[in-house]
């Protein structure tokens, strides 16, 4: 244990008892929260139910047959809660009449008896669970939440660490739960190391020392890959289109474009799109604008796209903008929508170097907020400069010692300035200051008031350094690291029963902001008024209006719709369109929230939220510019709603062809809310002769009907996906299937990428099939018909959406006993339901306000 601890922060550590380390608490909590099964025994009280089950169900669902994988013999002998999902599925099937099958004789009275008995038992089990352990197990911050929390805690707008954290959420196509589901989270002791590393990185990032950097203007000079550049005159140079290769634009002075300081910079670029003719070695006019992406690398080498540069044809035009520049150079890559990329000297961008510059860093306050979050008002100074002056005075200057693990310093120096390593935070009364800083920091990090004893236990980590008179920032760092990897920080502090105001504030802010509560919310929690419905509603509205609500939208869309799996189109090198596809869904959900639209619009809407690229993709005219905006669809348009968005159509397709089965399963699960278990492992397949293999999707689907194990689930969704067949694998509208062979069949030119011209496609004679049937037997002709069917069951969709929101908000899937909460939410909103009203309903529900 001890050796591990030294590895955590690598700091010289005098004899401090490791028994008091917070890691131990983590391990303890993990064991309690995750590994131990619920010790709740809720038996079926009624003999009637047991009797009926034995009489009507056990014939098929016994230990031998186990039809559908259900074995009531075993279920009846185990705890009800452990198998509550199976039980609730059973209740649903009995209630809908699906079970028992017709041959069995279950009279209406017996059916009612059975249902009420099971219902009561399940609810009882749920209530007991809530009372004793709580509905949600101990919930840890997801990597995403951890990153957002660090950003807000340390005021580091551009911190990217989530990919370095352990326990990345993995979501398969059939995964129904959200990434923040507590029961699926694990913590391993080894993983804690990663948290410590990440925390250290963040603390290094936050401590920015020295004088306020002056605002400089950096001129663009030649650099980077010089053979892609052609000088044109004294002040201009040409950068050829290199098919999305990254180009470094080294900016003077120094190695780095930002002169050493990360921060916001104003760029001013005078450019023009032009083409170099490699045959004649002359430039020639290029008639289209060229979009390039300006980006920079952050300290942790994450690519961040910060600005789009549009170079207009024929004339030099100036573009101004702000971008955050982290470590290293300003980068530029062409969003090569104009060129297929196989030509080295395709269209490119001409820079006027004299009038292209970068100015910054733009700093409003110094020391920055991140510094103050760690060291408050303590000054810092250059050690070597101050040493003489200081030593002349009454107190002794802290000794500057090079750290045994020098890489920390290097890390420190790399992202800021080499000189920064020479700076020390100065404290006249280090012990008092350390306690004061720790109290503030811990209150914010633990998101609740802290007790002096707690501060003491963390101060012990800083004490040796302070006593050894090492620089203050190095002395207090172990304490900070311990805070950021402690259980209080990593886990949400929730107790069974009604949540207290701090826990409620946490739950609220991790739901809507994916991060810690801000000061205002914390203050309200402190005053003890947060649980009052009116106060709560005001806070929810404030939080939804905040920029941080975007995090909720993105995470929710990624978890629910898996929009983040959209990939760049193969062959076109157009990563940008993929970005627009994703953002369309995010912006659509945001519009749903901000515009307070009825949730039915998620099924079908008469508007889309698009930018120029998506508008072009959808064949909507008159949309210019990269901003997303609400555009009314013309009558008879197939688009509108989530299902027909390119992002959704993309993630439900295979690489280059559509798969109606996947799409059907997607619609049935995500939109209709029907539970479909993951497919069982395929039984060993016999070799099918070539001529007997299914040729079309319809034939393949027909095969599902012949196999019992396939039919049970596939019958629910197999043909639903056909509604979406009129959209290609990347969501493009189509009438005919593409021909399998190139150069054969009807040749058409399609233009999918805005400003890119067109490319050839070969179509077969086969018209797309769009007719199908839903799981409850309603047939449709095309996607409009399917949407009509779904709209008829508006209430059902709203209920499904509410349960998704509840699962996301609380970190636990909706269980049988939570259905009453959903019922109450629905009953409270008889008319129009909007995303906002459902969110508010969830927040005011019992399931949200209790653990």
């Amino acid at each position: 244990m001890r050796s591990e601890l030294q590895f955590y922060d690598g700091l010289p550590r005098p004899s401090v008892g490791c028994e008091r380390r917070p890691w131990k608490a983590i391990v303890r909590l993990v064991v309690i929260g995750v590994l131990l099964p619920a010790s709740v025994q809720a038996e079926l009280k009624s003999d009637v139910a047991t009797h009926l089950l034995k009489k009507h169900c056990i014939e098929c669902h016994n230990a031998d047959k186990q039809e559908g994988g259900v074995n009531f013999e075993q279920l009846l002998t185990t705890e009800l809660w452990d198998n509550q999902q199976v039980w609730s599925a059973a209740v649903d099937k009995v209630r809908s009449g699906e079970m028992p099958p017709e041959k069995s004789e279950l009279t209406d009275k017996h059916r009612a008896d059975l249902l009420s008995s099971l219902d009561a038992a399940l609810i009882e089990a749920g209530e007991t669970r809530r009372r004793t352990v709580g509905r949600v197990p101990l919930r840890r911050l997801t990597p995403e939440e951890y990153e957002y929390t660090l950003r807000d805690l340390l005021h580091l707008e551009h911190l990217y660490v989530k990919q370095n954290l352990p326990d990345q959420p993995t979501r398969g196509f059939f995964d129904q739960s959200f990434s923040n589901r507590a029961a699926a989270q694990t913590v391993s002791p080894a993983g804690i190391h990663e948290y410590v590393k990440v925390a250290e990185h963040a603390i290094n990032m936050a401590g920015v020392f020295g004088e306020k950097p002056t605002r400089n203007r950096f001129v663009l000079t030649h650099g980077g890959f010089s053979h892609f550049k052609i000088p044109v005159g004294e002040h201009a140079s040409y950068v050829g289109n290199t098919a999305n290769r990254w180009l470094g634009m080294k900016l003077a002075p120094g190695e780095r474009s930002n002169g050493g300081y990360s921060g916001w910079y104003r760029f001013h670029l005078k450019t023009q799109s032009i083409r170099f003719n490699e045959h004649a070695h002359v430039f020639e006019p290029f008639n289209h604008p060229i979009y390039s992406q300006l980006s920079t690398r952050t300290v942790d080498d994450q690519k961040v796209n910060t600005a789009v540069l549009i170079s207009q044809p024929h004339r030099m035009t100036v573009q101004d903008g702000l971008m955050y520049i982290g470590r290293g150079n300003l980068m530029m890559s062409f969003l090569s929508q104009n060129d297929t990329g196989h030509k080295r000297w395709g269209p490119g961008v001409l820079f006027d170097e004299k009038e292209s510059w970068l100015e910054g860093p733009i700093i409003d306050e110094w020391p920055p907020a991140s510094y103050r979050s760690l060291y408050d008002n303590l000054p810092n100074c250059n050690f070597w400069d101050a040493k003489k002056k200081w030593n002349a005075g009454p107190s002794k200057m802290p000794e500057k010692r090079w750290h045994p693990r020098g890489d920390l310093r290097l890390e420190h120096a790399r992202h800021n300035d080499q000189k920064m390593a020479n700076y020390v935070v100065v404290s006249q009364k280090p012990e008092k200051d350390a306690r004061r800083l720790l109290t503030t920091f811990m209150t914010r990090a633990f998101r609740r008031p802290v007790k002096p004893e707690e501060v003491d236990s963390y101060y012990e980590l800083a004490q040796p350094g302070i006593e050894a008179n090492i620089p203050f920032q190095d002395a207090i760092k172990p304490a900070y690291l311990a805070v950021l990897s402690s259980s209080e920080f990593l886990f949400l502090d929730e107790q069974p029963g009604k949540l207290n105001d701090f826990a409620l504030a946490n739950r609220l802010s991790y739901f809507l902001w994916r991060s810690m509560p801000d000061e205002a919310l914390f203050e309200i929690a402190k005053s003890g008024k947060l649980h009052e419905p009116a106060v709560l509603e005001t806070q929810v509205d404030r939080m939804l209006a905040d920029e941080r609500a975007e995090r909720f939208i993105e995470s929710f869309a990624n978890d629910w719709l898996q929009v983040d799996k959209v990939q760049a189109m193969p062959g076109t090198q157009n990563a940008w369109l993929a970005g627009s596809m994703k953002h369309e869904t995010y912006r659509f959900l945001r519009e749903m929230l901000r515009g307070d639209h009825d949730v039915v619009n998620l099924i079908d809407s008469d508007f889309v939220v698009v930018d120029d690229k998506m508008a072009h993709y959808y064949g909507i005219e008159g949309v210019a510019g990269p901003e997303f905006r609400l555009v009314r669809l013309p009558a008879g348009s197939r688009r509108g709603g989530l299902m027909t968005q390119a992002s959704v159509l993309d993630v439900t397709s295979e690489d280059s062809k559509t798969n109606p089965i996947l799409r059907g399963a997607w619609v049935v699960r995500k939109i209709m809310g029907v539970h479909i278990p993951p497919p069982p492992p395929l039984p060993p397949q016999e070799e099918v002769p070539e001529e007997e293999r299914p040729r079309t999707m319809r034939e393949e689907i027909a095969r599902h009907g012949t196999v019992r194990s396939c039919r049970d689930c596939h019958s629910k969704f197999d043909t639903v996906g056909f509604a979406l067949e009129e959209f290609g694998p990347k969501g493009q509208a189509r009438e005919f299937y593409p021909n399998k062979e190139k150069n054969k069949g009807k040749e058409v030119r399609v233009s999918l990428i805005y400003g890119a011209g067109s490319h050839r496609q070969w179509l077969s004679d086969e018209r797309v099939e769009t007719a199908g049937e839903t799981h409850n037997g309603k047939s449709f002709e095309d996607v409009a018909g399917l949407k009509r069917i779904l709209r008829q069951d508006e209430e059902h969709f709203a209920r499904h959406l509410t349960s998704m929101l509840m699962a996301f908000a609380t970190g636990e899937n909706v269980q049988y006993s939570d259905r009453r909460d959903i019922d109450q939410i629905m009953a409270a909103q008889p008319g129009k339901k909007t995303l906002r009203s459902l969110i508010l309903g969830v927040i005011q529900s019992r399931a949200f306000q209790e653990k």
Binding site: V282, F283, E284
Partner: protein
């Protein structure tokens, strides 16, 4: 007052119907048919008031035949033209097609050049030029090779009128363009002007300056260099070879992995080729070219300049099809037109372009300026040989000066009359030279 008239005829319908008013002495023929093709601009002045143009088909005996005139739009992959018009008579019969040019009172007409295009087959053709009233000015048989447009230059003047006839059985042949000069009776028809360097200047409809028929030659520039020893010597052959070594290095794959594809660069022997004195001068910058014009103006007491972008378009015959509101750069590539016709490639050796699978010529490098064929206004090497610098920039405030036409190392894209390229005013290029214009009252 002299009126120079050049008519590019692309449709019979256009002859009969549309004349649009334009600048002082110019008339424009607009193209009616061929909607999806680019309209090829015509030049000139007030044609209906000065000239009657008519077309008819005659039988063997010379009697008019009722026949339909059809447009042939046959998509040959490598055809010379799928736009020329079938002005022949009934199928399988020998017949005579005739175009009559009858000037109004007070004018004389000069037929300068006409272009005939065929679609297929080499065949014999009888052509006849008659003066109105029956006097035969020319009567001869010629042989047309397959897919070769040919230009005839009868240069006959008449006050009564001229009839041009051609007799053939081949229907896939037609007249694609004529250039005509209209002059008042009391004046002599325009004759090209030759200056002290031996450069010839032609009148080009639409342009207010006379345009040199050739690019400035090596010997012209040598005369300038001799009197101005301080100028940059890059144009000189010696320097040329030095430069070509640099260029050759550039082509070596090991030294330039990204550019070493020899198939994409000029051949090594190309860059070592020496220029004759009659070759167009290259490797001169825009500034050098202007210095040359200043020197020549001072020497002769006349005003020489580089062609403007508009004048170059006039010389190529596309000025009226271009939108004058656009900058030269924006005009680039909008009009699909070659000086030899509508389709690529031209007749072998009629232009000096880059060799590739569609086109071959005997010139690996620059050729003597008059070695290739002229356009209808008598200008050499507009589409080929070397690209030509113009006076204006590609756009207002642009770094680049306009470069027009194709050259010995450009392919079909630059050979189109409307394509533009750009060159910074101080840069030199081995395939870029220049052509000069003479400001003259005759042109007005």
């Amino acid at each position: 007052m002299k009126v120079y008239l050049s008519i590019l005829i692309f449709s019979l319908a256009s002859l009969k119907t549309t004349y649009a008013q334009s600048e002082a002495h110019a008339i424009q023929f607009e193209l009616l048919k061929l909607e999806n093709r680019q309209a090829i601009p015509q030049s000139c002045g007030d044609v209906p008031n000065k000239l009657d143009v008519s077309y008819r088909v005659l039988d063997k005996e010379g009697k008019p035949v009722e026949t339909e005139v059809s447009f042939v739009d046959r998509p040959y992959r490598y055809s010379i033209s799928n736009l020329a018009h079938r002005w022949a008579s009934a199928p399988g019969q020998d017949s005579i097609a005739e175009i009559a040019l009858i000037p109004k009172k007070g004018f004389q007409v000069t037929l300068r050049r006409l272009r005939v295009a065929t679609f297929s087959g080499s065949h014999d053709l009888k052509i006849r030029l008659l003066e109105e009233g029956g006097k035969v000015l020319e009567d001869r048989a010629i042989k047309i090779a397959e897919r070769s447009p040919f230009t005839l230059a009868p240069a006959s003047t008449s006050t009564k009128g001229l009839r041009f006839q051609w007799e053939t059985r081949n229907q896939n042949m037609g007249l694609s363009a004529i250039s005509v000069l209209l002059t008042p009776i009391d004046q002599k028809p325009f004759e090209p002007i030759v200056n002290s360097l031996g450069l010839t200047f032609e009148k080009v409809p639409g342009s207010k300056s006379l345009v040199a028929t050739t690019e400035v030659r090596v010997k012209d520039y040598a005369a300038f260099a001799k009197e101005n020893p301080e100028i940059d010597n890059s144009w000189n052959t010696f320097i040329w070879e030095e430069w070509s070594k640099v260029f050759q290095t550039w082509l070596i794959p090991s030294k330039n992995p990204d550019r070493g594809n020899i198939n994409k660069g000029p051949l090594v022997e190309d860059v070592y080729a020496k220029q004759t004195l009659d070759d167009p001068v290259v490797n001169v910058s825009w500034k050098d070219a202007n210095a040359f014009c200043r020197w020549l103006s001072k020497k002769e007491g006349r005003t020489y300049r580089l062609l403007t972008d508009h004048q170059w378009s006039c010389a190529a015959g596309i000025a009226s099809a271009e939108d004058s509101a656009l900058s030269p750069g924006e005009k680039s590539g909008r009009v699909h037109h070659y000086v030899w016709g509508t389709h690529f490639p031209p007749k072998v050796n009629s232009e000096n372009l880059r060799e590739f699978h569609q086109f071959k010529d005997d010139y690996p490098h620059t050729s003597p300026v008059t070695a290739t064929s002229t356009n209808l206004f008598g200008l050499y090497g507009l589409a080929g040989n070397v690209q030509e610098l113009c006076e204006d920039p590609l756009a207002e405030g642009s770094f680049f000066k306009v470069v027009r036409g194709g050259g010995w190392r450009t392919r079909e894209l630059h050979a189109t009359s409307s394509s533009r390229a750009g060159l910074p005013p101080f840069q030199r290029n081995i395939s870029i030279g220049f052509r000069i214009a003479l400001e003259s009252e005759i042109a007005q």
